[in-house]
Subunit: 304 residues, 2 copies
Amino acid sequence: MASLIECVPNFSEGRRPEVLAEIVHAIGQIDGVTLLDHSRDETHNRSVVTFAGSAEPVVKAATAAVGRALELIDMSQHEGAHPRIGAVDVIPFVPLGHTRLEECVDLARRFGELIAKLYDLPVYLYGAAALRPDRRRLADVRRGQYEGLKAELGTNPDRDPDFGPARLHSRGGAVAVGARKPLIAFNVNLATEDVEVARRIAGVIRESSGGLPAVQAMGLLLENPGERPSAQVSLNLVDWEETGIATVVNEIRRLAREAGTDVDHCELIGLAPTAALLEVAADALGLREFTPDQALELRLARDR
Amino acid sequence: MASLIECVPNFSEGRRPEVLAEIVHAIGQIDGVTLLDHSRDETHNRSVVTFAGSAEPVVKAATAAVGRALELIDMSQHEGAHPRIGAVDVIPFVPLGHTRLEECVDLARRFGELIAKLYDLPVYLYGAAALRPDRRRLADVRRGQYEGLKAELGTNPDRDPDFGPARLHSRGGAVAVGARKPLIAFNVNLATEDVEVARRIAGVIRESSGGLPAVQAMGLLLENPGERPSAQVSLNLVDWEETGIATVVNEIRRLAREAGTDVDHCELIGLAPTAALLEVAADALGLREFTPDQALELRLARDR
């Protein structure tokens, strides 16, 4: 069984398309890597690339991408709305298919050590790959951003990186390398125009206010040209094995009906792990003893 | 994109486990082939092996399996309840993942010609691979079985094979090679003990009595030790892109409610194409513009 790993590096450059093109090209040149997506945000002055493959090609591609970004992006010139500490700001590794999170933790740590040496770059491990509990949250690692870190590094030992020198890279700053589970971005549109209903439901179900674990939610009013506006619960499921799509939708449906309305339809943003969607099918059919291995292509992927 | 093809050869030997073991071994030895299942039926004196891979290894493995079966099985000694014309009775090729049925049609024809030459074996093409409309149905190809075909071959030109000699192979008889879509075996258990309800629903939904296309159905009473008996609609979906799981279950639910009962739960027998299950998830969530490519692992498989 070959491991299948997704890598989603974020680059502090969103205004020069040619820079993103160069980085994407460097990634795409590695055999065994599949480019899944790339997007560029001018306001945030930031780009995100998504690619996947087995461990070795993914590490090769991520290493090449960091090298290219350090050549093309100068953090001392960077401005943008999004918090960041470096030219390659953050590099999460995400397990796909039957790959376990632990594999990505190992990979993130090996990769962090590798690029710290290769590029003389300070590397912080975050998420499931963190070596210190106070570095699990990306926000804590990024505290003070590039400018703040520049002032603290070398004087405050508490900010020393996990790998590499205790000073910023001359052009690239620092980088956060981590491991996390795949994130599912998902919206539930209600059969009402009353945004308060969506906000109340979001308040009940999100983890931060004591709701379902590993669920982030907010209520908003969706205005589609040519359609009636509709209240929407916008969701991130940050650990679908903890709380899955079916659980969330069933709970929102229950709350919506209590409020005298109902779920109209759902939207899946981008990609989701196949097993998370199969769980919805199994729930809908009341399948007993179903496993994702009963999905032919997944079963084949497992045995190869 | 590499094609992904399933092959499900049926062998006329179900009483000597060592023969099945030898055949499975011959298949498993081919690099790039994944064995998915094998089962042996003593009453039918017949075995079924399921394996998959890309076109070349699948052809190699199927060729090796035919060779081994011709050495180990003597049709002149064969008795069993299941209709059959040869030692390797039938070899269907089935498209998985993004592979199209047409690829399996081509493959079946090339493979049929190959084994006819290699083993001096009469080969009939059936299913989507048939060259004559009267050979699409396997039952028509098998008419008279091994014994009947032995009598007719060489005297009735209408029974001439598509490839190979117009006489049976001395040990192996003849073989039917075909292409078909994946079959989904699926049961819907009703919240009633009244088998008549299941029979009536099966009668309404099956294609043969004017119901849903590509659906085979029958009603039966399921008796599980320790549980209350329950009426079951047992289904084969022979073309899930024509009529999918969700359509069938929603229709059965409607009919069950009309009859004053409901669907209790469903059972998936064995494996099903991932996309057929994702369709159920999309239906349950009311997802708009969903494509199976939004399932990460399928998307990756497509691009590799």
